[in-house]
Amino acid sequence: MTNWDRFLETFFNAKMMARYLPDILQGALVTIQIAGLVIVCGLLLGLALALLRSIGLRPLNLLIVFVVDLFRALPPLVIIVFIYFGLPASGVKNWGFIATWLSLTFVLMAFSEEIFWAGITSIPKGQWEAARSTGLSFGQTLINVVLPQALRLTIPPLTNRTIAITKGTALASVVAVGEILGMASSAVSNSYNPSPLTMAAIGYLILFLPLVVFGRWLETRMAWKR
């Protein structure tokens, strides 16, 4: 057997791959579920916090900044483990899934709040003044004038950050969630063959490469033309 054959036998073992493909697919489904929930909830919460912050109530803003900085400073894995083992709800069904979902949601909320906020504050004061001078309220100005411009500016950094955080779904394997990496790891320990890991890597590529390409496309399309 040549080295090349041995390499294929180890990492691209067809029998192993066929045997564990259903597991990996099932894991991919879980990954997609967590990722989808995290993206939707994280971005909505981040936007909500940025909007609250734009109202300009000093104590509220201090609280928002504190929460945001907290979740930006802590490693996501620490948050997951903390929620998984630390909160009294452990024992709840699918608690690992929920802990991962909550943790990554908070992290994305924190990072996206900062990005949304930067977008909102980058809109010139004259835009607010022109709109308010025609009788638009604060909220109407925010929704119709400021946000559409701000969101356009935020899309490139937001896409990159969202992808980076969503990849953190792999951390769920640590708290016994059967997502792609979790499934692959247990397959490896059952089969003594790393081929399932190869499948996991390919699975991640299939899931995330389109997102990365999509982000790149958005970035060029959203280049601001004045």
């Binding site: 022109a130 709109a131 308010r132 001078s133 009788g135 309220s137 119709n144 004038v145 004045r226």
Partner: protein, 247 residues
């Protein structure tokens, strides 16, 4: 008996922290009147205009527009602001909307017009400023002069009782100034009451009823264009007029 003034601002003071920027300014504007405000940079001209629609909160004094107390907490300020059109030096058009979208936004959101009504009113406002054929253009596709005219259309579409212009031509290339002044002259002829802060003395001479000279937060002197430009009573006014006429 004189008719009720369109704008009646009395004893306006404005402090920015320790900085006393307006020191008791009165401004009364009659129907169809055009008041032209001149004065050195930093004398408080913009702040005065911005106190009239409460973009800036006066520290004290009173502001009545068309009989509505702009400073009364019970006044629906957003509603009252439709009665006061404002045009800015930097146009401040919404870059993500077409010219028509810029003009119709407040018609829909504040005046409560349907999209069809707003579009019709917006089109006629754009026609008044000579830009009927630019309705679908975004600000980025328009010249500075055209952008400023869209900004004027955005304000007049709401049928204000008074229009405030804060250096409307200062950001424009010289060859584009004329088109904006022409629109302002038309507005004036239609009987719009206007307060204009500007350095366009030619426009003041043939369109202004009254010229007000501001310095250090006070109206130092006011009179007809001929009085102020030809024979100012105050030394400060004379010095300022002499200075700008050198250019």
């Amino acid at each position: 008996m004189a008719a009720r003034p369109v704008v009646e601002a009395r004893g306006i003071h404005k402090h920015f922290g320790a900085h006393h920027v307006l020191k008791g300014v009165d401004l009364v504007l009659a129907e169809r009147e055009l008041a032209f405000v001149i004065g050195p940079s930093g004398s408080g001209k913009s702040t005065l205009l911005r106190c009239l629609n409460r973009l800036e909160e006066p520290s004290s004094g009173s502001v009545m527009v068309d009989g509505v107390d702009m400073l009364d907490a019970r006044t629906d300020l957003n509603h009252a602001r439709q009665r006061v059109g404002m045009v800015f030096q930097s146009f401040n058009l919404y870059p993500h909307m077409t010219a028509l979208g810029n003009v119709t936004l407040a018609l829909r959101k504040v005046a409560g017009k349907s999209s069809a009504e707003a579009d019709a009113l917006g089109q006629s406002a754009l026609a008044r400023v000579g830009l009927a054929d630019r309705a679908g253009h975004t600000p980025g596709q328009l010249s500075g002069g055209q952008q400023q005219r869209v900004a004027i259309a955005r304000a007049i579409a709401l049928e204000p009782r008074v229009m405030l212009f804060d250096e409307p031509t200062s950001a424009l290339d010289p060859e584009l100034v004329g088109s904006v002044l022409a629109v302002m002259r038309d507005l004036r002829q239609s009987g719009m009451a206007m307060v204009v802060v500007s350095h366009e003395m030619g426009f003041a001479r043939n369109a202004a009823d009254r010229v007000l000279f501001m310095d250090q937060g006070l109206i130092v002197e006011e009179g007809t264009p001929a009085q102020i430009f030809e024979s100012p009573a105050q030394e400060r006014t004379r010095a300022f007029i002499g200075q700008i006429q050198k250019h």
